[in-house]
Point group: C2
C-alpha cells in the first residue's frame, strides 16, 4: 500500500508563516496527508521495547464509578474564590488541556454566589406561578414523566475573557483567560411544555427564575426565550447534572449568558416585565462610554480561541504542528474560522470538525509548518448569521476601556524563537 | 399566550396500546404538545414553598475537579469480576439511569483481562514495526504534534446482551443485560497517518495490535480498517482517556467489537495475515450449529433497547409516559426505530433526537398514553444500510442456542397492572 498521489503544491502554505490548506484535516484528509513528505517525522527509529512494570503485574480492579489517571491530576480548573465571601467565586475550565467539543463534567466551569448547595432531590420542587391560570408544583418524580430533549450546547459566563481587558496582557493559561466557557450534552424538559400546562396568562411577557442556593440567585428572562428553546435541564453528559451545575435541575437558555441559566432552579414566576434584580442591575450590565449601562444583553457573541499551542505550552523546534481551538456563537452555527500565523496580516481557513452543531462549541484545526522563528497565531470566527469576531484592538476601540462583560475579541499568542508562547494583544 | 392550535386527532394513537405520534418529540413538537390536553398533569397545585436548609446556609466551596451529588451514589456500573482471576472481568454501564447519547467517563463500561495498568505516559511508547519500510517509535510528546480528529462514536463488547441468551429471561436491569455499550467523543490521530510515515510494505494486509497490560491483550485487525477510520485515541469526552479505557492511548476501530480496540496500545505490527491469537481463536468467535466457528466477525450489528421504562423502574399509574431508549449500528447511521406497546403486534416510529451521527448511539423517544393495564414494550432499529434488528425469537431460531457473541436481538419489557416492569422474551 503506497502513499496516495498528492501533488506537492497541495502542501504549500495558504497564508503567511506556514499555514497549510485545511483539506489536510477534512474528510479523507488523513489519506492525503503523507506525514513523511510534510517533514513531520517526530517519531524515532524503533529500538527494542522495554518491559515496563505494568506488563509484568496484574493491574487495578473494576469499580462502580471510574477515576482519572493519577498522572492527570494537574489537569484541573483554576479555582478563584472571591476574597471575603463565603462560597462566591468561579473555577475555570483548563481549555489548553482538552480536545474535541465535550467538556467532561468534572472540568465544566463553575460560578457560584453562595457556594454549592447539597440539595436532596426528594425534597426539592419546582414552582411555576405568577401570571398563569394554574400555579403548579413539580416534584422530581413528576418531571421524570415529561417528554425530554437532548442537545449538545455551550454555556459561557458573560464575564469570560475579562482578564484580557487589562491594559497589559496577563501571562496566564488559555483556561485562566477564557475558561468560563464549556460544552455539554444537556437533557431535560422543554420549559414551554410546563408553561403550557400551567396556562400562560395573556399579560405575561417575562419570567423571574430563582435558584435554591443561599444567594437565591434570581434573574428575569423574556417569555419568548422560555417558549423558544429553554430547557429544564436534568442531565449533563448522560448523568444527572452535578451540584456545581445546578443539581437537581437548572434553567438552560441556549446561547444566553450563563448567569441567566439559573442553577438549583426552585421557582419560575411569570410576570409582565423584568424585575430588576441585583444581578441585572448592579451586575451583568454593560457600562458604556457615556456612563449609561445596557441591560439584558443575554446573547453571547461569536468567538474563538486557539487552545493549542497556547501559553504554558512550548514548541519543540521547527516542524509540523497542529493548531487546535474552539469557536462558538449564541446565534447558531459557526460558519468559518480563520487562522493567522503572522499576527493578522494574512488569514487562512481552518478545518471544522464534525459535527458542527447550533450553539455548541465547534473544534477547528489547522496544519502549520513552523519555521522555528517568531510567530503570532490568532483565530477569528464567523457565524451563520454573518457576525465576525472582532480583533481585540477593534473591540477595545469600540467598547473600551470601561467594558467588563461580553468580551468576544480575538486572542493572539506570540511564539518566540525558543518556542515559548506568550499572551499578546493584536 | 395561548396553547397553539393542535387538532385533537393528532393526539390519537398510531399503534396499539397507546403509542402516540413521534411528531410530539420532533422539532417544534414541544409547542404542539399541550400537556393539559394530553392528560399529563403530573404536577400538583401550588402551595407555599418550604425554606429548605440549602437556602439558609452557604454551600460547598469550588474545586479543581468536580464530583457528583452524594444523592446519586447508587448510579454505578454493575461490577462483575471473573471468579478465580486477578483483574479479569467487566463493569457495565447503568443504561437505565442515563439520558442522551454521551456516556460520562466514570460510567463508561470496562472489560479487563488482567486489571487496569497504571501507565506512566512519560515511559509509554507506541512501536510500529513488521512489514514497514521504517520501524518507528512514538512517544506521547511526539504524538501530540500530529493532526487529530474528534468523533462521537459508540463502543460495544461483542459479548453484550449475553444474559438474554439464557433459556429464561433474567430479571435484571437494562444495564446488567445490555450495559457493555457506551458512547463518547473520541479524539486522536488517524492511524493511517502514522502508518504512512512508517511506510506500509506492499505485502502487508493485516496488523497485530498489542496492549501494555499484564494480559498483553493482542488482536489481529485488517489493514483496510486501519487505513479507513482507525484512530489512536488519546482523549475521551474532552479529557485524556482514562486508565480503564486505555490510558494513555487505545486503538479505536469505529463500529468494531470492543475487544479489537486494544487498550494501553504499545505495539502495532504489520503482517501478511491474522496471527490467530487467543482472543480470536478460543474467544470472540461465533460458534455455529454445526460445530464450526466464525472468526473475525468484527462488525457490531444494528440494535436498540428501551432504557426507560425498564426493569427496576415502576410506572406510577395510568397517564402519559415517555419511552426513551438508545439505538446504534456498526454500519453507519440509524435510519429508524420502531416501538411496540403490544408485544410486537403493532409498531410505530419513534422520534430520533438530533444529532444522528454515524456509528454513534442515537437517542429515541416516544410518547405513550399508558392505560394502567398490562403492556409489553419493545423497540426495533433499522440502519441506513437497511439492516433490521431481529426479534429475539427470530434471532434464536437462526443462531441459537449455542451462540455466545453478537446478540443484537430485541429486548421486551412487560408491565403488569401494578406498573412493575419485568424482562420477557418476544
Amino acid at each position: 500500500m503506497s502513499t496516495p498521489e498528492f501533488p506537492e503544491e497541495e502542501h504549500e502554505q495558504v497564508a503567511g508563516n506556514g499555514l497549510l490548506h485545511r483539506r489536510l484535516f477534512l474528510s479523507q484528509g488523513a489519506a492525503l496527508l503523507s506525514a513523511g513528505s510534510l517533514g513531520l517525522m517526530t517519531a524515532r527509529p524503533a529500538a527494542a521495547q522495554a518491559l515496563d512494570p505494568w506488563l509484568l503485574t496484574p493491574g487495578l480492579a473494576l469499580s462502580g464509578y471510574g477515576e482519572r489517571s493519577p498522572f492527570e491530576a494537574d489537569v484541573a480548573r483554576t479555582v478563584l474564590p472571591v476574597a471575603g465571601t463565603t462560597g462566591s467565586g468561579a473555577s475555570r475550565t483548563p481549555l489548553e488541556s482538552l480536545e474535541g467539543i465535550i467538556t467532561p463534567n468534572g472540568l465544566f466551569f463553575e460560578r457560584h454566589h453562595a457556594g454549592i448547595p447539597e440539595i436532596d432531590p426528594e425534597r426539592h420542587q419546582l414552582l411555576i406561578h405568577g401570571l398563569v391560570e394554574r400555579p403548579l408544583v413539580f416534584s422530581m418524580e413528576a418531571l421524570s414523566r415529561y417528554p425530554m430533549e437532548s442537545r449538545i450546547q455551550f454555556l459561557e459566563c458573560s464575564g469570560n475573557s475579562r482578564p484580557n481587558l487589562a491594559s497589559t496582557p496577563p501571562q496566564e493559561s488559555c483556561g485562566f483567560l477564557h475558561g468560563t466557557v464549556s460544552c455539554s450534552e444537556w437533557t431535560g424538559i422543554p420549559l414551554s411544555i410546563l408553561l403550557d400546562e400551567a396556562g400562560v396568562s395573556s399579560e405575561a411577557s417575562w419570567l423571574l427564575a430563582e435558584g435554591a442556593d443561599a444567594a437565591a440567585m434570581t434573574r428575569s428572562v423574556p417569555l419568548a426565550k422560555a417558549m423558544d428553546d429553554a430547557l429544564i435541564a436534568l442531565y449533563q453528559n448522560g448523568e444527572r447534572i452535578r451540584p456545581s451545575n445546578g443539581y437537581p435541575m437548572r434553567l438552560f437558555l441556549p446561547g444566553y449568558e450563563g448567569n441567566a441559566c439559573i442553577k438549583w432552579l426552585r421557582r419560575i414566576k411569570l410576570t409582565s416585565g423584568p424585575q430588576m434584580t441585583r444581578e441585572e442591575t448592579s451586575k451583568y450590565t454593560d457600562l458604556q462610554r457615556d456612563g449609561r449601562s445596557l441591560q439584558f444583553t443575554f446573547d453571547m457573541d461569536v468567538k474563538s480561541v486557539i487552545t493549542s499551542p497556547s501559553f504554558g505550552l512550548a514548541l519543540n523546534g521547527p516542524g509540523l504542528y497542529q493548531i487546535s481551538g474552539i469557536a462558538w456563537t449564541g446565534a447558531g452555527r459557526i460558519r468559518r474560522v480563520e487562522v493567522s500565523a503572522d499576527g493578522g496580516q494574512t488569514w487562512a481557513e481552518a478545518a471544522l470538525s464534525d459535527p458542527v452543531l447550533p450553539k455548541a462549541l465547534t473544534r477547528f484545526r489547522m496544519a502549520w509548518r513552523y519555521d522555528g522563528g517568531a510567530a503570532t497565531i490568532v483565530s477569528r470566527a464567523t457565524d451563520e448569521a454573518g457576525n465576525v469576531q472582532p480583533l481585540r484592538s477593534d473591540f477595545m476601540a469600540a467598547n473600551g476601556p470601561q467594558v467588563s462583560y461580553h468580551n468576544n475579541s480575538t486572542q493572539a499568542w506570540a511564539i518566540d524563537s525558543d518556542g515559548a508562547v506568550s499572551n499578546v494583544y493584536v
